[in-house]
Amino acid sequence: MESPAEIVQHTAGGMIGASWLMIAFPLLGAAILLILGRMTNRWGHLLGVAMSLASFVVAVLTFLEIIGLPAEQRRQAVHLYEFIPGMVDMGLLIDPLSISFALLITGVGSLIHIYSIGYMSHDPERRRFFSYLNLFVAAMLLLVLADNYVGLFIGWEGVGLASYLLIGFWQFKPSAAVAAKKAFIVNRVGDFGLLVGMFIILATFHTLTFSELGKQIAEHPPSGGAVTAIGLLLLLGACGKSAQLPLQSWLLDAMEGPTPVSALIHAATMVTAGVYLVVRSGAFFFPPDSTQAIAVSVVGAATLLAGAIIGCAKDDIKKGLAGSTMSQIGYMMLGAGLGPAGYAFAIGHLITHGFFKADLFLGAGSVMHGMNDEVNMRKYGGLRKHMPITFATFFIGYLAIIGFPLLSGYFTKDGIIETAVHHQPILGWLAVLGAGITGFYMSRMVFMTFFGEKRWEKDAHPHESPAVMTWPLMILSIGALFLGGYLILSNRLYFFLSPAVGTAEATPEFDFASTAGLVTLALVAVGAGFAWVRYGRAEVPAVAPRGSFLTTFARRDLYGDALNESLFMRPGQWLTRFAVYFDNRGIDGLVNGLAAGIGGTSGRLRRIQTGFARSYALSILFGAALLAGALLLVGNI
């Protein structure tokens, strides 16, 4: 078991020295598009794509330079400028972990940029959409590339902002505006955890830089309550961003945004930031088998089941995929909680998930594009003949996510399940169960959409999407096909990441014939078969049947919103009502009463002002007499 390699200060120039361009390009794009505004309407989307692609090129070149270095030198810190004098120097940390993320973000991001040209072609605000996308890419890159927690936090908030802007992109829809607000507010809860965690880190270690933290922790291995508190608070932050229980409620509503946004931000990249946070901090604050690490795994396992159950009941194709996203991130968290043994699988699943989930979302977007933006799967059916490319790519994504043997998801998900069964048997078997449910709900989605009878609206004329949309689908589906195997077999990703995250006691071996793996496959097959019986062969009712208690439970998002409402919103409303009441009656009453008292008193007092000079003279004489008496008294004393 080895700790991560030491971070070396990068002095030579080269691509690593210029890696800040990765962030600068999309940031510049966003700035140009936002500042020049309508002037850029004609070519704004092209600039957005170009900036994203430029960032991708920089990422690839940096990646090539990194793998050219010996393993122990693959963690390079690039100093940019002094940010908070004496405390934080802004810099980038280019290491296998961050460059993996950067490649995913810029790669999938660029594909989704290209796809969006077609998807948003009829939207008058396409230029603004691309500026937000660029802003998101820049912020996300800052999040993963920063070499300290402050930079990470800035990126963290930046992606939160971009997410808010993009969920509410169609702000004329009240539901979108509300969903954006909800995402923002729920994320604040997580951000609060992250922020407080950072405070405690600063108070305990007097630094927020990864390299400094690494050195200190290598000298004095951390222990005690402070580290547990830091870990749990960082986990809270991760839960907010990654839509894990109990902060999961915003993700389903976030599907109000345009579909490319759902694909890029709320499936492939941003929501995995929590996993990144846990893995990045893993060597510092999540030692294996510690309370906080187990908490990460428990949260992951709970969320993967919850997401899967929600996914089973949704008729809205995007919400179904959102439930599945929750569930898959739950797998990643489960893996991330297992320490270095699980990191490679978690990150691997994260990357392959980025591909196949983006593929699925963009496929769903393509379906919606052809079906007049209809999202209800009960009004689809039999689309495979009308959208062959979309169907093919969606089907590949589907096979990948349910873990069909030899596809991407099979390797990464089974890797997580096997590791979990090995380290945390209960959570592991729950993950196996979750995989079975995944098989059911994803099959249901495919059968309802592409198979069976046509249940379209009368004015629907399904057609294949333009090439600018199908090409990204094809590229993503290639990733969904082969990437998992490439990363996991012969432990390529494990050895690549090990300088950044450390190594486990025993090098994990992918076992094609493990008990858990076989049981998983069997359960997936059962789930898919059940789905075929219910939705493939049988008629799908156009209106959702009432369903059992369990169905209602899942349709209502496991009563997450109801829970939030009764636990936080209602008491909050009561509190505000009480505060308003107190303000109106108590404080205003006091102030108004005082004012009325003074007014009434002065109204009576002014009656003294009779206008008769003789009355005034009388009071003057009384005053003089009083003065004389007082002087007399004082003189006598």
Binding site: R606, R607, A613, R614, L621
Partner: protein, 98 residues
């Protein structure tokens, strides 16, 4: 003897003050004010002799001059008010009130 003069002065002053308070004819009120001024003058003169100092008399002299000036202006005001309001009662000029 000084005590006697001072007591007389105080009595006259109080009587004048009472006159100011109870009379309504502006001219009579004015006369009462003059009486109060004269009472003060008496005290000044008495003190001048008590202390062997002529300055008390000088002050009394100035009081007389100022009182003369005051009477001139005050009576002119009364005449003006009477001309416009046909009344010399101080109670009739009571517009400046709540």
């Amino acid at each position: 003897m000084t005590t006697h003069y001072l007591v007389l002065s105080g009595l006259l002053f109080a009587i004048g003050a009472m006159g100011v308070l109870i009379r309504r004819n502006a001219i009579v009120v004015f006369m009462c004010v003059e009486l109060m001024l004269n009472a003060c003058n008496l005290a000044f003169v008495a003190f001048a002799r008590q202390n062997g100092n002529l300055e008390g008399q000088i002050i009394a002299f100035f009081v007389m001059v100022v009182a003369a000036a005051e009477v001139v202006v005050g009576l002119a005001i009364i005449v003006t008010i009477f001309r416009t309001r046909r009344s010399a009662s101080v109670d009739d000029a009571n517009l400046l009130k709540y």
